[in-house]
């Protein structure tokens, strides 16, 4: 089971890295969000597959018996929420780039290490 999940996680991450290498900003965006999905799957596998019972203490018992690990699920939930927020922010940056340049090619976006950086900003402040 663990090997199967590890294989799936590595496949997802491999595809994600392939998409990341693209110059198209939307592909990069999708690649990044796929990458965090792969990481979440790896995190899920870290909890082990000992049991699929819900982690609820049985009536009358003092301690939790055999059950699925609730902590990794809480961690993944947090990671999904954070990843979602980051994807939204990145998507809105992409949208603004598209509106500003009319292109989604990374080469068309002015990058801050160009020589004319200081001249470009003369108008601001």
């Amino acid at each position: 089971m663990t090997v199967f999940y590890a294989f799936c996680a590595s496949c997802i991450m491999g595809f994600a890295i392939y998409m990341l290498l693209s110059r198209n900003l939307v592909r990069t965006l999708l690649g990044l969000s796929l990458l965090s999905t792969g990481a979440n799957l790896a995190l899920f596998a870290a909890g082990g597959f000992g049991s699929d019972l819900p982690p609820i203490i049985a009536q009358g018992a003092e301690a939790l018996g055999v059950s699925a690990d609730p902590l990794v699920q809480a961690l993944i939930l947090t990671a999904i929420v954070i990843g979602f927020a980051l994807t939204i922010v990145l998507a809105s940056i992409t949208l603004r780039i598209w509106r500003a340049t009319g292109s989604l090619d990374a080469r068309d976006v002015t990058l801050p290490d160009q020589k004319n950086l200081a001249d470009m900003e003369r108008s601001v402040e």
Binding site: L32, L43, G47, I93, R96, I97
Partner: protein, 493 residues
């Protein structure tokens, strides 16, 4: 005041104020005042917290939700975290004073105050947390605030910079969270104390070594270590300068603090323990490359913001060199270096912002005449400049002395040689910078006066640097205590 309140205040107060600032964003003066008040109160509380953590023998650990220590998310008032919180609040105060002149109503309406306070909260949370997953969450909050701050003016160069910053940071976050998963699968807990207890003296397995390497990649990317450094000067350069000043002080140090805590403490690299051996062998090479490449790259820059950006990374290289030595003295040197460097890097960014205000250019070749027109500014700016170069008696001199002393004691000559060459290059770079901006005459026009709030903001940081330089003993004491606290992290799990 109870320890619990003191521990939570540096995170909760700025977050609360950030929420209020969002509501007040249509009234720039009010939100600015609120942010300033929140930062001042938090600074005072952080001094109390530092004093508590220095005098109390037992560490105050607060676990949220009433779980026993080791199972819940906890905050720990451990050195060097508490000292770093104090310094980060000092920086926040300097930047807030400076922002009075640098940040106008338009940027405040765009959310400057709320985002800065959110960033302060994230940085403090990172310095105080005792849980590996919580550490990751604070990194993500800092990233979200940083993206907003970089894009404050919505210019095209800023969009490109923030896209690059976001992409690089998400890759770093993926490395972190995969490492967290591997460690959780091995140890079954994410409490730093428990992890340290289990991992320090266990021979490294494939899983723990991979996790250590992933943490090195993730936190190292955040700290800007070579070969993962190219994004940092480019992203910081487009942000408004008071934002870049905060970044230079907080974000790279946050990455390095996480390295110190996880590699130095949990994996025991800092005490030469067996747990982190496979990764420890890489550290001297990465540190040497960082120092040399970035000090050299700084020499070739004409844009002041990129020049300082490279110096920020080169200084992280020195800290990593101190960590890579693998002795108690090395950990002390790394802690001292961090405390000194946060103040100096922020102050340098504030200084170049003031030079831009006076001369109207970011380019070294188009600036000049500062000494004749703004002698007070030059007096304040000379302190971080000389401290960066490591000239006695300023704080940078002591930081470098401690680092070289511990390296020579341990016989690590690779980092000594790389560090000496980089120090020489840094002195060259500082000399070129100083003569281009201060001594050279400005042709055809005369520089304007630097506004008083800018001088006040720089003054706070310059006097702190001067204080550390003339009186290094208390800071060195804090550094000693920090190294001891990290070394015995596992004992309290």
């Amino acid at each position: 005041m109870s320890d619990t309140f003191l521990l939570i205040a540096p995170v909760a107060l700025p977050l609360l104020a950030a929420g209020l600032c969002v509501l007040l964003r249509r009234y720039p003066l009010w939100s600015e005042g609120l942010a300033f008040a929140a930062i001042s109160v938090t600074l005072l509380l952080s001094f109390v917290l530092l004093e508590h953590s220095l005098t109390q023998a037992a560490l105050a650990i607060t676990v949220f939700g009433g779980w026993p220590v080791g199972s819940g998310v906890s905050f720990a008032g451990r050195l060097p975290g508490t000292a770093l919180v104090t310094v980060s609040m000092l920086i926040a105060l300097g930047v807030a004073l400076y922002g009075r002149a640098a940040i106008g109503a338009r940027r405040r309406r765009a959310g400057y105050d709320a985002l800065m306070l959110g960033m302060v909260a994230a940085v403090n949370g990172c310095f105080l947390t005792n849980d590996l997953f919580n550490l990751y969450v604070w990194f993500e909050l800092a990233l979200l605030c940083a993206l907003g701050l970089i894009m404050l003016d919505r210019r095209e160069a800023q969009l490109g910079a923030s896209y690059r910053y976001a992409a690089v940071s998400i890759i770093a976050a993926t490395a972190m969270i995969t490492g967290i998963g591997l460690l959780y699968g091995t140890v079954g807990s994410l409490d730093l104390g428990v992890l340290a207890k289990r991992l320090i003296h266990t021979p490294p397995s494939l899983a723990t070594s991979t996790a250590a390497a992933l943490f090195l990649a993730g936190f190292g990317l955040k700290a800007g270590l070579v070969p993962m450094h190219a994004w940092l000067p480019a992203s910081y350069a487009t942000a408004p300068v008071s934002v870049a000043a905060g970044f230079g002080g907080w974000l790279t140090k946050m990455g390095f603090y996480a390295l110190l805590l996880v590699l130095g403490g949990v994996f025991g690299v800092g005490t030469g323990a067996i747990g982190g051996k496979p990764v420890a062998a890489l550290l001297p090479w990465i540190a040497s490359a960082t120092m040399l490449v970035c000090a050299l790259a700084a020499l070739g820059q004409n844009d002041m913001r990129r020049l300082i950006g490279y110096h920020v990374i080169a200084q992280v290289g020195y800290m990593l060199a101190a960590l890579s030595i693998g002795t108690r003295m090395g950990m002390e040197a790394a802690s001292f270096y961090m405390l000194h460097s946060m103040l100096v890097q922020t102050n340098l960014y504030l200084g170049i912002g003031a030079i831009y205000r006076a001369t109207g250019s970011w380019k070294l070749s188009h600036t000049g005449g500062m000494l004749r027109s703004n002698p007070v500014f030059c007096g304040l700016f000379a302190i971080p400049m000389l401290s960066l170069a490591g000239i006695p008696p300023l704080s940078g001199f002591w930081a470098k002395v401690f680092m070289f002393r511990s390296a020579i004691n341990a016989g690590e000559y690779l980092v000594v040689i790389a560090g000496l060459i980089a120090a020489l290059l840094t002195i060259f770079s500082v000399a070129i910078f100083w003569s281009a901006t201060c001594w050279k005459e400005l042709r055809n026009r005369s520089p304007r006066k630097v506004p008083l709030p800018m001088l006040l903001g720089m003054g706070v940081l310059s006097f702190s640097t001067l204080f550390i330089g003339l009186n290094p003993r208390p800071i060195h004491h804090i550094a000693e205590q920090s190294a001891a606290a990290i070394a015995r992290m596992g004992v309290f799990g």
